[in-house]
Amino acid sequence: MDGALVVMEAEGAGPVPDTLKIVVAGGFGAGKTTLVSALSEVEALHTEEVMTSESVGVDDLEGVEGKTTTTVALDFGRITLDESTVVYLFGTPGQRRFSFMWEELVEGALGAVVLADTRRLADSFDAIDFFESRGVPFVVAVNCFDGHRTHRADDVRVALDLEERVPLLLCDARDRESVKEVVVELVSLVLRLELSGA
C-alpha cells in the first residue's frame, strides 16, 4: 500500500512509531493547554526547559530582574493514531522572550494552529508573523470558549489581516470534536499544499 508506514522494529520492544508534530500557539490564556488536553490520550504532559543566556541573546534576559536563568514550561499531548503513527501537539510558551523555543518547536513540524482569543486578538499577531516567516502551514482557530460567538469568522479575518488562503475556523478548545475539526483542517491544508506541489 502506498501509504504504508515504515516501522522500525526494536527487538522485543515493539514497533517504533513515526511521529508528526503540530504546534499550538496563541497568547497567554487563549486556551492552548485546554486544546491540547481535549485531544490528547493522556492528560497534557508537562516538561521544562531551562533558559540561560546561552540559549537566548543576552538582551532577551532584560526584565528577568537579575536572575540568571528562568524555566520555560512546555505542555504537550500525545495522540496514537496506530502502532506506527503518533501525533504530538505542543503548546508554545506564550511570551515573545521564549521565541528560541518556538524555533525548535517548528523545526520539522507538520504545521501549526494559532489559537486566537477574541478578547485579545492582538496576542495572535506574533504567532501569525512567526509561522508566515518560517513558511509553516497554519490555521487560525478562534476559541469561543465562553459560548458567545460574538465574533463572526469574517470579522476576525479582517481584524487579523489574514490572507484568504489561511483557513480560519471557530472552535471550542474544551470540546474534543471541535478540536478534531481544527486538526483535520490543518492536515487538509497540508495535504492541499502537498498536492499542489507547494
Binding site: M1, D2, G3, L5, V6, M8, A10, E11, A13, G14, P15, V16, P17, D18, T19, L20, K21, F28, G29, L39, L45, H46, T47, E48, E49, V50, K67, T68, T69, T70, T71, V72, A73, L74, D75, F76, R78, I79, L81, D82, T85, V86, V87, Y88, F90, P93, G94, Q95, E104, E107, G108, R120, K180, V183, V184, V187, V190, L191, E194, L195
Partner: protein, 126 residues
C-alpha cells in the same frame, strides 16, 4: 489590564529557576549533549538486555521509561528532568549503546499525500 483574573498575574508557563547548578549537576556541568540526534519527538527505546549491571540512578530511570519507545519530550516529562538535561543523559546512553533513537523522516520531509490521507482518516475516527 483587568482581563487577567486575580492570582493569575504571573503566567503559569513563566517561572523562575534560581540556579542552574541543581539540574545540571546530573550532567557533570555540561549544558550541551555530546550529539544532536534528539528532536523533541524522536523515539527512544532501551536496547533489550543492554543495560549495564550498574548505572547511575537517573540513567536507570530513563532506561526503565524507555522499555517501550518513548519520545524525548515524554522522557523529560516523566523523569522530571528539564529537556536539556534529558538530552544530555540520552546522548550518554546512546554513546554507550544502551538506547536506540529513531527520528521520523517526517521531520525532514513532509509526508506524502497517501500518508496524509491516512492520517486524516485516523483523526476523524478518534
Amino acid at each position: 489590564m483587568s482581563a487577567v483574573p486575580p492570582g493569575e498575574e504571573f503566567p503559569r508557563e513563566w517561572s523562575f529557576e534560581s540556579s542552574l547548578i541543581r539540574p545540571y549537576s546530573l550532567t557533570g556541568g555540561r549544558t550541551r549533549p555530546s550529539r544532536s540526534d534528539f528532536s523533541m519527538t524522536s523515539q527512544v527505546v532501551a536496547v533489550p538486555s543492554g543495560a549495564p549491571p550498574e548505572v547511575d540512578p537517573e540513567l536507570e530511570l530513563i532506561l526503565s521509561l524507555c522499555a517501550r519507545p518513548l519520545s524525548v519530550a515524554e522522557v523529560a516529562s516523566r523523569s522530571g528532568f528539564p529537556l536539556g538535561v534529558t538530552r544530555i543523559l540520552l546522548a550518554d546512553l546512546l554513546d554507550q549503546g544502551y538506547v536506540m533513537v529513531h527520528t521520523s523522516d517526517w521531520e525532514r520531509n513532509r509526508p506524502d499525500a497517501a500518508t496524509l490521507r491516512a492520517v486524516l482518516d485516523r483523526i476523524r475516527e478518534l
